[in-house]
C-alpha cells in the first residue's frame, strides 16, 4: 500500500522519524543485540571477564533439568490460564448475548478486571488464600481441607492460574460477546424454527461461526500467559515452592537478576525471542486465512 499523493522533501521526514528511531535503537535494538551477544559467553567465576562458549549456554540450558522443568511449567500454566479464562468468558458472553436489554450493564461491570494490574490481582488473590488470614483458606479449613500453597506446588499453580485467568476475563468476554453479536440473527432463528434447542444451536452454528474469534483469542491468551503474568507470580509465589511456578519469563528474571547468571539469562531471552517469533507467525497465518468451516 502506497499513498498516491506525497509531499516533497528528504530532511523533514528523516527528522520526523528520528525520535522513534533513536528510542528504538537505544532501548530496543542495542539491548536485543546485547542479549544475543551475551548468550554466547559465560563470565568467569569472579565476573571479571567473559569467555566465549558459542552455543554452550544453549546446550547447557537444554540439558538442564530445571530449565526443562520450567518449560513444562510454562506449558501447563499457559494452557490452564487460556482454558479457564476463555471458558469463563465464553460462558458469560453466551449468557449476555441472550439478553436483549441489560447486557450493557453486565459489560460495564465485567471490564473491571482489565484495569486491575496483574501484580494487584496477585495481591488480591494472595489475600484470599493467605495461609494465615485468608478467608477462603479459613472456610476450606472448615470443610476439612488444609490449603497451603506455600508448601504445595499444585495448589500454588492453581492459585497463580486462577489469579492470571481472572485478570483476563474482561478481554476475552468483550471479544467473545462481539463475535457472538456479529452472528446473523436469522441463521439462529432459522435453526430454532427447525426445532434445534439451545445446545444444538450452539454446537452446530454458533461455535463454528465463532471460530475466528476463538483462534485469535487462543494465540493472544497464550502470549499473555507467557509474558504478562510476571506480576502475578512474583507477588503470589515468587516462583515457588521448589520452582513449581517458575515460568520461563520468571526464570529470565530470577537467573539474571537474582542469580546474576548473565550468560544463561541472555540465552533464555534468545529462546523466548524465538518463541515470540513463532507465535507471531502462527497468528499472522491464522488471521490471514481466518478459520472457517
Amino acid at each position: 500500500m502506497e499513498k498516491r499523493v506525497t509531499f516533497k522533501g528528504i530532511w523533514l521526514p528523516l527528522l520526523l522519524v528520528l525520535p522513534q528511531l533513536v528510542v528504538t535503537a537505544v532501548f530496543f535494538f542495542y539491548p536485543a543485540g546485547q542479549a544475543i551477544w551475551q548468550s554466547l559467553f559465560i563470565p568467569d567465576p569472579f565476573g571479571l571477564s567473559m569467555k566465549f562458549v558459542g552455543l554452550g549456554n544453549f546446550e547447557y540450558l537444554l540439558s538442564n533439568s530445571y530449565y526443562r522443568a520450567s518449560f513444562v511449567t510454562t506449558a501447563v500454566f499457559s494452557t490452564l490460564v487460556t482454558l479457564v479464562s476463555m471458558g469463563v468468558a465464553l460462558y458469560l458472553a453466551v449468557l449476555a448475548d441472550r439478553l436483549i436489554k441489560g447486557s450493557g450493564i453486565y459489560r460495564t461491570l465485567l471490564i473491571w478486571p482489565y484495569a486491575v494490574a496483574p501484580a494487584v490481582a496477585g495481591v488480591l488473590w494472595l489475600f484470599m488464600f493467605n495461609t494465615r488470614v485468608g478467608v477462603v483458606t479459613w472456610y476450606l479449613g472448615l470443610l476439612g481441607y488444609d490449603w497451603n500453597h506455600v508448601l504445595n506446588g499444585n495448589e500454588a499453580m492453581g492459585l497463580v492460574v486462577v489469579a492470571s485467568a481472572w485478570g483476563r476475563i474482561s478481554y476475552n468476554f468483550l471479544f467473545f460477546l462481539a463475535g457472538l453479536q456479529a452472528i446473523p440473527r436469522s441463521v439462529i432463528e432459522a435453526a430454532a424454527i427447525d426445532g434445534a434447542r439451545f445446545w444444538t444451536r450452539f454446537r452446530t452454528i454458533v461455535w463454528p461461526l465463532l471460530s475466528p474469534t476463538t483462534f485469535f483469542l487462543l494465540v493472544v491468551n497464550i502470549v499473555y500467559a507467557f509474558f504478562e503474568t510476571f506480576g502475578v507470580i512474583h507477588t503470589i509465589t515468587g516462583g515457588g515452592p521448589q520452582q513449581a511456578t517458575t515460568i520461563l519469563v520468571y526464570k529470565v528474571y530470577s537467573d539474571g537478576f537474582v542469580g546474576q547468571d548473565l550468560g544463561s539469562s541472555a540465552a533464555q531471552s534468545v529462546i523466548l525471542l524465538f518463541i515470540v517469533g513463532l507465535l507471531t507467525v502462527v497468528q499472522f497465518r491464522f488471521i490471514e486465512r481466518r478459520v472457517h468451516y
Binding site: K3, A117, Y171, L174, T280
Partner: protein, 301 residues
C-alpha cells in the same frame, strides 16, 4: 507488550446496541431469569476479590489476623486510607501514585507523539531508506520488554537513569504498536485532502497540524486509554530500576509493603493501597468505555 499485530483483531467488537429482534430465540420466562442468575454468579466471581480487598481496607488489623475476617465494611475507612496515603510503609502511597501518574502519562504521551510523527513521515513522504525504517520499527512489535530485561537494565544504568522518570518511561516507549496503528489510519485518509493542501501551497507540517491531527482525534483518544492502563500497570520494569522507595510506583510498591520473614503484613494498609492502585485505571476504563473498546480492537496495548 505483546507480540501481535495490533490491527489483526479477528472480530472487532461491534456496538452492543444491536437492534432488538425479539424472535423466538429470546423468550421471557424461566430461561430469562436463569440467564440473569448465571451472569450474576459470574459477576460474584469477578467482584469477590475486589470486594474483599475493599472490606479489608476498612477494618482494623486484629479483625483480619483473627480469621475469618468480616465480609462487610468496617469503620476504619478514613484511618486506613489516610495512613496509607500520608505515611504508607516504605513511602507515602500518595507519592507512589504521583510516580505512577508521571510514568503512565510519560509513556502514553511520549509514545503517541513519536508514533504520530514517524507514521506521518512513513506514509506521506518518499525518502531514502523509508522501507528499512518501516521494517526496523515493525520488528519491535515482536519483542516484549520482559525478554530483554538484563541488557536494557544495563543500558539504563549506563545512562545513569536508574531511579529516574526517564528510566521508567523510555524503554517502554520503544515499541511500534502505535506507529503501526497510525500508519494504518493515515492510509485510509482520502488522498484528496493532501492534494488540496498541496495545491493551496500548505507546507507538510501545516497539513499535519491542521488536517491530519484533528482527523486522528478518536484514534489518539482510544490509544490513550489503552496506553494509560498499560503504563500504570507496569510491574517488572519499575521493580528493577527503582531501588529508592521514593521512586516506587504504586503497582510495584504494594509487594514491597510485605515484610520480609515471618512478620504479619499490615493488611488494612496494603489492601487500601491495592484499592488505590486500581482506581485510576478503572475510572479511565469505565468512563471512556466506548473509546476503550475501540482501542482494544485497534491495538492491545
Amino acid at each position: 507488550m505483546t507480540a501481535r499485530d495490533p490491527l489483526a483483531a479477528a472480530t472487532p467488537p461491534v456496538k452492543s446496541g444491536r437492534t432488538p429482534a425479539p424472535g423466538m430465540v429470546e423468550r421471557r420466562g424461566s430461561g430469562y431469569w436463569l440467564t440473569h442468575l448465571g451472569l450474576i454468579i459470574g459477576l460474584l466471581f469477578v467482584f469477590f476479590p475486589i470486594w474483599l480487598a475493599f472490606v479489608a481496607s476498612t477494618v482494623s488489623q486484629p479483625e483480619i489476623v483473627r480469621p475469618p475476617m468480616p465480609l462487610l465494611p468496617g469503620d476504619r475507612f478514613f484511618d486506613n486510607y489516610r495512613k496509607a496515603l500520608v505515611s504508607g510503609i516504605n513511602a507515602p502511597v500518595a507519592l507512589m501514585m504521583l510516580n505512577s501518574l508521571i510514568m503512565a502519562m510519560g509513556i502514553t504521551l511520549g509514545k503517541i507523539a513519536i508514533s504520530l510523527l514517524s507514521a506521518f513521515a512513513i506514509v506521506y513522504f518518499r525518502f531514502p531508506l523509508r522501507r528499512v525504517f518501516f521494517w526496523l520499527i515493525f520488528l519491535t512489535l515482536m519483542l516484549p520488554v520482559e525478554v530483554r530485561i538484563v541488557p536494557t537494565y544495563e543500558v539504563v544504568a549506563g545512562f545513569g537513569m536508574l531511579n529516574s522518570y526517564s528510566g521508567l518511561i523510555f524503554p517502554l516507549i520503544a515499541s511500534a504498536t502505535a506507529t503501526f496503528l497510525f500508519r494504518q489510519f493515515f492510509m485510509t485518509v482520502p488522498d484528496e485532502l493532501a492534494e488540496a493542501a498541496r495545491v493551496d501551497g500548505a507546507r507538510p507540517m501545516r497539513f499535519f497540524w491542521d488536517i491530519l491531527l484533528p482527523m486522528s482525534r478518536t484514534n489518539i483518544a482510544a490509544l490513550f486509554v489503552i496506553l494509560f492502563i498499560y503504563g500504570w500497570n507496569q510491574y517488572l520494569w519499575p521493580l528493577l530500576i527503582t531501588t529508592d522507595p521514593s521512586m516506587n510506583t504504586i503497582v510495584m510498591g504494594i509487594k514491597q509493603m510485605f515484610p520480609a520473614g515471618d512478620d504479619t503484613a499490615d493488611w488494612p494498609v496494603i489492601m487500601a493501597t491495592s484499592i488505590l492502585a486500581m482506581i485510576p485505571p478503572v475510572i479511565v476504563v469505565i468512563s471512556m468505555q466506548k473509546l476503550f473498546i475501540r482501542g482494544l480492537v485497534d491495538s492491545e496495548k
